[in-house]
């Protein structure tokens, strides 16, 4: 038996380690261990006023605070039966685009691409790939600007609250962003054309891909979840069918559906919703000559690059509409709604950059939180990643130790694990 241990894997969000073993007949064990302490986030919101929830839950993660903020807000709005306006919906869509763009630009280029080109240190990446790095930074910066204009701050949004938005986004800032957008889209296309020539390992692992599903759009939130074993569930069915496994000394609760692990994230979304990508995103994906569905988890990185392009293109009409809304003299009332506090139960399922994110709350009649459950994308895909690693280990057994560890880390990073989220 050969064991492989990798402590403190860097270039991921949050701290994790890997423990694996290769036994007889290519039978392998693989386990991801979180090095984060448990913050008990679901307990922290209990007995607190609902307005504090989005503030507290955004602190689950510094790279994807927007999705936790919005998942809390949308769940609470379901309880209070708040029907949001089209104006609020557009601003939230823009915020989600911003979140995906900056999170993907960071992960796909600065955390995973170095594995593609065999670099350990991002200061070397900046030196050896100056043009690509500059493009990736500019794309990321664009996402951050948009997040700041609408959310009030890049890390941990302030402006996005139950009932809508406190402050009307500054029109000049929005116009500046709109002016930048076509150039940034071109930059993303240019970056894509430069990096697509790098090839990845051929590695296939059969997985079930789960994502939100729509016939019309490439969805951020919704009621229908599609599993690639041809199962369609509603949000409530999803919450009932999936199982969170608690083990005595495990900080991350693995998630299974009918005892099976499943994949979530960019590759799942493209596998399930390829038809709803924008024309430019489709062209880029087609240029990769990857067949749909792709069972190669390393393709998750390319899927993220394609989603950046998809986001930038689909933002154009959204920002146009927001611009028109900002000319409305009553816009402040349309983006911040009055509501009555109620007791009840509400939930939200949305597509975080790393995949399906589920929040669920119960309030009492004073708006105090009496129940909370949060299931994050990384907690969901961790069991699937471990399955892939078990299939991967026998394939790399002939390589030396250093190379093996490099490849294992690359596979782990290709999933874009966010251990802070998973260990919340």
């Amino acid at each position: 038996m050969k064991t492989i241990e990798i402590n403190h894997i860097a270039k991921t969000e949050g701290h994790l380690s890997f423990v694996g073993a290769l036994l007889e007949n290519d039978f392998a064990l693989a386990r991801i261990e979180t090095e984060e302490g448990s913050r008990l986030m679901e307990s922290l919101v209990l007995n607190r006023q609902f307005q504090e929830v989005p503030i507290i839950t955004s602190r689950i993660c510094g790279v994807c605070p927007i999705v936790h903020n919005l998942a809390s807000i949308i769940s609470l709005e379901e309880i209070f039966e708040i029907k949001i306006t089209e104006e609020i919906d557009l601003l939230r869509q823009a915020l989600m685009h911003a979140q995906w763009i900056h999170s993907h630009a960071l992960h796909a280029f600065f955390l995973s691409f170095p594995d593609v080109v065999g670099l350990n240190n991002n200061f070397d990446l900046l030196k050896q790939y100056p043009e690509e790095s500059k493009l990736a930074l500019e794309i990321r910066d664009f996402g951050l600007k948009l997040a700041k204009t609408i959310g009030g701050r890049t890390v941990h949004p302030i402006n996005s609250v139950v009932g809508g938005f406190r402050m009307v986004p500054n029109k000049e800032e929005l116009l500046e962003i709109m002016q930048l957008l076509p150039a940034v889209l071109n930059k993303a296309l240019h970056l894509f054309s430069k990096i697509k020539k790098y090839s990845w390992l051929d590695f296939e692992a059969k997985s079930i891909f789960a994502s939100l599903y729509s016939r019309e759009i490439y969805p951020f939130w919704g009621e229908k979840i599609y599993f690639s074993d041809k199962i369609e569930l509603t949000k409530n069915e999803f919450s009932l069918e999936i199982e969170e496994l608690s083990m005595p000394n495990e900080k991350v609760k693995r998630v299974l559906r009918k005892q099976n692990p499943f994949f979530v994230g960019a590759l799942s979304r493209i596998n399930n919703n390829y038809g709803r990508l924008t024309d430019l995103a489709k062209q880029c994906f087609d240029g990769l000559n990857i067949e749909i569905p792709s069972y190669n988890p390393f393709h998750n990185i390319w899927a993220q690059f394609v989603e950046i392009i998809n986001c930038l293109q689909s933002l154009i009409p959204i920002l146009e509409k927001i611009k028109e809304d900002l000319d409305d003299i009553h816009i402040d009332k349309k983006i911040m709604l009055d509501y009555d506090i109620k007791a009840g139960r509400g939930s939200c399922l949305l597509e975080a950059p790393r995949g399906l994110l589920y929040h669920e709350y119960e309030t009492d009649r004073h708006g105090k939180i009496v129940h909370c459950n949060i299931i994050t994308p990384t907690a969901i895909f961790l069991a699937n990643l471990e399955k892939d690693l078990r299939e991967f280990l026998p394939l790399i057994k002939g390589k030396d130790d250093i190379e093996q560890k490099k490849l294992i880390k690359a596979l782990i990073r290709s999933y874009d694990p966010c251990i802070s989220c998973a260990t919340h």
């Binding site: 270039k11 302490g37 448990s38 602190r59 510094g62 605070p65 200061f123």
Partner: protein
């Protein structure tokens, strides 16, 4: 000043890493700074681990010490650096996760993990309750410019706080933002350390005090104003979130 670049280590314990993302969000400022100092062990940037005999002129630590290995690491790091700087609310004053300290922590663990869990479940402490801290960069998240300015001060041999000893109100008024207190809302701006550009007030959110108490904060005066419109419990909950309540209580203790 010598030509040798200052060696700076960037570390994190348990947390959201939002302070480091704030830093990366000011990518140009951060990369310029990286030309003038030697930035090491930044795990979002490189694959490497701290060596036992390694020494840093400044070590920044973000997050909360929530595991025994977090605590061991912090104690070891203390002797491997000249200046140890707490980065952000969690490290400086307990931060959001220390809300657990206001709950029954066993119940909290059971609620999240069930009865069988034997996970470590410490009280959530700020770094200075475990080791000596030389400086702190406040905020949840930090203001990246505060970080850059602070390091630049160290480069010229003059480490000091680079934000004014003024409350958040100072910046809020100068930016002409609407006063939340005058609207009858809870705002901790008058007692909270400024330097954040009153960013929450820009979005019409009252200050939650994430940057901690400003020097000579007039806490009792603010409480008097708040009590006109709000119950003691409401006020206490607001003071708890990032750790100002804990600071107020420990100040009282020191004064007694």
């Amino acid at each position: 000043m010598t030509n040798k670049k200052l060696k700076i280590g960037l570390f994190s314990l348990t947390g959201c890493e939002g302070c480091y993302f704030s830093l990366l969000d000011n990518a140009i400022g951060f990369l310029r700074l990286a030309e003038d100092v030697e930035i090491k062990r930044f795990r979002l940037f490189e694959e490497s681990e701290i060596a036992v005999d390694e020494f840093f002129e400044i070590a920044f630590v973000e997050g909360s010490p929530l595991t025994s290995s977090n605590i061991d690491f912090l104690r070891e790091l203390r002797v491997q650096c000249a200046y140890l700087v707490a980065l952000g609310s969690c490290a400086e004053m307990g931060g959001i996760y220390h809300l657990k300290n206001y709950q029954d922590k066993d119940k909290a663990l059971n609620y999240v993990y069930g009865q069988n869990s034997d996970l470590e479940n410490f009280d959530v402490l700020s770094l200075k309750e475990l080791v000596k801290i030389d400086y702190a960069i406040p905020g949840c998240p930090i203001n990246a410019q505060n970080f850059i300015d602070f390091v630049r001060q160290i480069i010229v041999g003059n480490p000091k706080k680079v934000w004014p000893n003024e409350p958040v109100c100072f910046e809020c008024i100068s930016k002409n933002y609407e006063c939340r207190l005058q609207k009858g809302e809870i705002c901790l701006g008058p007692i909270t350390q400024g330097g954040c550009e009153a960013i929450c007030l820009k979005s019409k959110q009252g200050c939650y005090g994430c940057r901690g108490l400003v020097a000579s904060a007039e806490v009792d005066n603010l409480l008097k104003v708040l009590k006109k419109n709000h119950s003691d419990q409401e006020i206490a909950e607001k003071l708890e979130i990032f750790g100002i309540k804990k600071q107020i209580n420990s100040n009282k203790y020191e004064n007694d």
